[in-house]
């Protein structure tokens, strides 16, 4: 082999990777470090930066609003997982051959297709204390109306319920494709061994759906962590900041009308990044292990 052919072989992959690597460096890696750097400054985005060391983090530790956001993020992460079993059961329910099943499937998938902003608006009206469907229903049962989005006790759950609607549809479509790949022979074998119902689902079907479940968990965690849009549309973080999540709080501090504390916003972003890092390293570790097994 000539030297040029050898160097071509070595070089080519890097050349092909170069655009991707460059963009990744500039739009992902570099901003991460820049955020970390900005978080050590007090800066309004216009004037001069003043170095304040870890003051932003010290303030963060003593900030009620930060803990509210953190708590809400945890609630989001836990409850958003409901989308996975819900999606699975809808998928199992729709996985049959009836006339028009394609139509039903697409109708069930519909909430995922429409924009999150629209979902937020629809649910805001659903929860509206005077004319919302929820409260019209409660009234007809003789119950007092609940202003879900104006009550600090319910507001986060109300927004999560809105988020679950499209997320369930997403998980459903993942499982529907997964179910297509389930081996009919194994089902048959299970039938012969008298497995049915829950046992069939748990021991025969679910193990074959493992890749779908894995993806469903990944997209659901990501969905929960970037729950910014629904919070912004439905409550704007309110009432009195009780429905904030970290991503929203960061936006509020750094970019909203009354914010422009870039340093403090960056400090929140760094904390959010560290939380995500735990999850991302778990995810990478799992990928690595799967690769090894192959």
């Amino acid at each position: 082999m000539t030297t040029s052919a050898l160097s071509q072989r070595k070089l080519a992959p890097w050349l092909f990777l170069a655009p991707g690597i460059l963009f990744f460096l500039f739009y992902v890696i570099f901003p991460i470090f820049e955020s970390m750097q900005i978080s050590l400054y007090a800066w309004d985005g216009l004037g001069d930066k003043t170095y304040v060391g870890f003051d932003n983090y010290v303030e963060l530790v003593d900030d009620e609003a930060f803990y509210t956001s953190l708590k809400n993020n945890v609630i989001w992460l836990v409850l958003y997982m409901l989308a996975i079993p819900a999606g699975l059961f809808i998928a199992l329910f729709l996985n049959q051959t009836v006339t028009g099943i394609r139509l039903y499937k697409s109708l069930f998938f519909f909430p995922f297709v429409i924009s999150q902003v629209v979902v937020g608006l629809v649910f805001s009206w659903f929860y509206d204390p005077s004319f919302g469907l929820l409260n019209v229903g409660l009234k007809s049962l003789g119950l007092d109306p609940i202003a879900v989005l104006a009550d600090e006790r319910f507001v986060t759950y109300g927004i999560i319920a809105a988020g679950l609607w499209p997320q369930t549809a997403y998980c459903m479509i993942l499982y529907l494709t997964g179910l297509n790949a389930v081996d009919p022979e194994q089902i048959e074998a299970g039938r012969l061994d008298n497995a049915r119902g829950w046992k069939m689902l748990w021991y025969v079907v679910l193990p074959q759906l493992k890749p779908a479940t894995f993806i469903a968990i990944v997209v659901t965690v990501i969905g929960a962590l970037r729950s910014f849009d629904l919070v912004s549309i439905m409550t704007d973080g309110g009432p009195w900041g009780s429905s904030r999540v970290l991503a929203f709080y960061m936006y509020e501090q750094a970019f909203s009308e009354y914010g422009f504390r870039m340093g403090y916003g960056a400090a929140i972003a760094v904390v959010l990044f560290l939380i995500m890092l735990v999850y991302i390293s778990g995810f990478l570790f799992k990928m690595y292990k799967d690769e090894q097994e192959r």
């Binding site: 004037g47 104006a150 309110g238 009432p239 914010g259």
Partner: protein, 412 residues
């Protein structure tokens, strides 16, 4: 190094563009006047300006109202227009401090604005310099359903006891006395401004928003106690934290609520919703502490020249034009607001006439608004506290302590 190169390349490029545009006598104006009335008003204004100054061509960029608050920061630094609109008071402080607005004292002197715009000179002055020209303002106060008041035999309240009595009568008749939508927080600040201005007066209010007085001060407590009387009696509509200010108009239109502490911009949507001038009325927020000089909230909108503007000469001509009495008369007739030039005429709309009379008699002073008088961060913390207080008045102590902590941090 590469960055420097890039920057100088961009600078060279933009100066080339600037040279070309300056040559053509082009004036670039950025505004957030995207609502129908302000848009029509500016359209007319620019046409009139061009007619009078045929050598100048105006390029006008309209921004959406909310988006403008973020865009202005970008375009002031990177791609500055020759004119941008903004707000008076503390709201312009960050841009003045960052050197992004141009002082325009010469425009004020040459055109005699120190006399004709005297009433608003203070709100345009920072560090002894004037930073723009005000062109419109509007009053705040209580908008109410005149017909409901008449039906129930309620007279327009002029002091706190009468006001509470009016609320009580309305509540007895199954009508929510005061409507409000606090989802976006600032509406609650209007109520706070007024109760504080009436309880403690203008000087105290301004000192508080400047951060010179602790939030745990007894006088702040006195204000909050007055507010608490209304909250605990249930005089505000239920679930107000779920509504925007526009959504809170609905109960008033339907006759389920009778009063709204608001700015004059609420009149247009109320009229559009079908309320006639016989049904809708306006009165000054009633007196609380007898004898203190009367102060009002009247936010002022302004135009400025960015420091990075390329055509400052023509921009100054535009400022002088907009400061003129006849121009302010015309633009405010379309806006449905009040002119600042003392020689301008106020349109004969009943709300504007009432507002003008009220503001002219305000001997205590004119406040801008809580979120324009207080720095942004304090405004945000404060308004969030007010919203929480209006739903959970029992948390008053916690809220005031939180605000005091914020004050210690913000006004360093």
């Amino acid at each position: 190094m590469t960055r420097c190169l890039l920057r100088s390349a961009v600078a060279a490029l933009s100066s080339a563009v600037i040279a070309a545009s300056a040559f053509a006598g082009e004036l670039v104006i950025n505004t957030d006047t995207s609502d129908p009335a302000p848009k029509a008003a500016f359209e007319q204004l620019i046409m009139d300006f061009e007619a009078e100054n045929p050598d100048i061509t105006v390029t006008w960029n309209i921004f959406d109202h909310e988006g403008y608050k973020t865009s202005i920061r970008n375009f002031l630094t990177a791609d500055a227009p020759d004119i941008a609109n903004w707000y008076a008071g503390n709201r312009m402080l960050p841009y003045v401090n960052a050197g992004l607005f141009e002082p325009v004292d010469d425009v004020w002197e040459e055109n005699g604005l120190n006399e004709s715009l005297m009433s608003s000179a203070a709100s345009m002055t920072i560090d002894g310099k004037k930073w723009g020209v005000p062109y419109t303002y509007y009053q705040w106060g209580v908008y109410y359903r005149q017909d409901i008041f008449e039906d129930l035999g309620i007279a327009v309240p002029t002091n706190w006891d009468e006001f509470k009595a009016a609320c009580a009568t309305l509540a007895e008749n199954g009508i929510a006395p005061i409507t409000i939508g606090t989802k976006y927080l600032w509406t609650a600040a209007g109520v706070f401004d007024y109760i504080n201005l009436r309880t403690n007066g203008y000087d105290f209010h301004m000192a508080l928003t400047r951060g010179e007085i602790p939030w745990t001060d007894d006088r702040v407590r006195a204000t909050m106690d007055n507010w608490k009387e209304l909250v605990e009696a249930g005089y505000f509509i239920e679930n107000h934290a779920a509504y925007s200010w526009q959504e809170a108009l609905a109960p008033m239109v339907q006759g389920n609520a009778a009063m709204y502490v608001m700015g004059n911009f609420a009149v247009a949507p109320l009229r559009e919703a079908g309320l006639t001038d016989d049904q809708l009325g306006f009165f000054q927020f009633p007196e609380i502490t007898p004898g203190i000089p009367v102060a009002e909230d009247a936010p002022t909108d302004t135009i400025h020249i960015p420091s990075n503007a390329s055509n400052k000469e023509d921009a100054k001509r535009f400022l002088a034009f907009l400061a003129r009495a006849d121009v302010q008369t015309k633009i405010n007739a379309t806006l449905g607001q009040l002119p600042l030039n003392s020689a301008s005429e106020v349109s004969d709309d009943k709300f504007l006439q009432a507002g003008f009379a009220m503001l002219s008699a305000a001997d205590g002073g004119i406040a801008q608004f809580f979120d324009r008088d207080a720095p942004a961060e304090m405004a945000k913390a404060g308004m969030e506290g007010f919203q929480e207080f209006m739903v959970k008045p029992e948390r008053l102590d916690t809220i005031l302590e939180r605000l005091e902590k914020a004050r210690g941090r913000i006004y360093k």
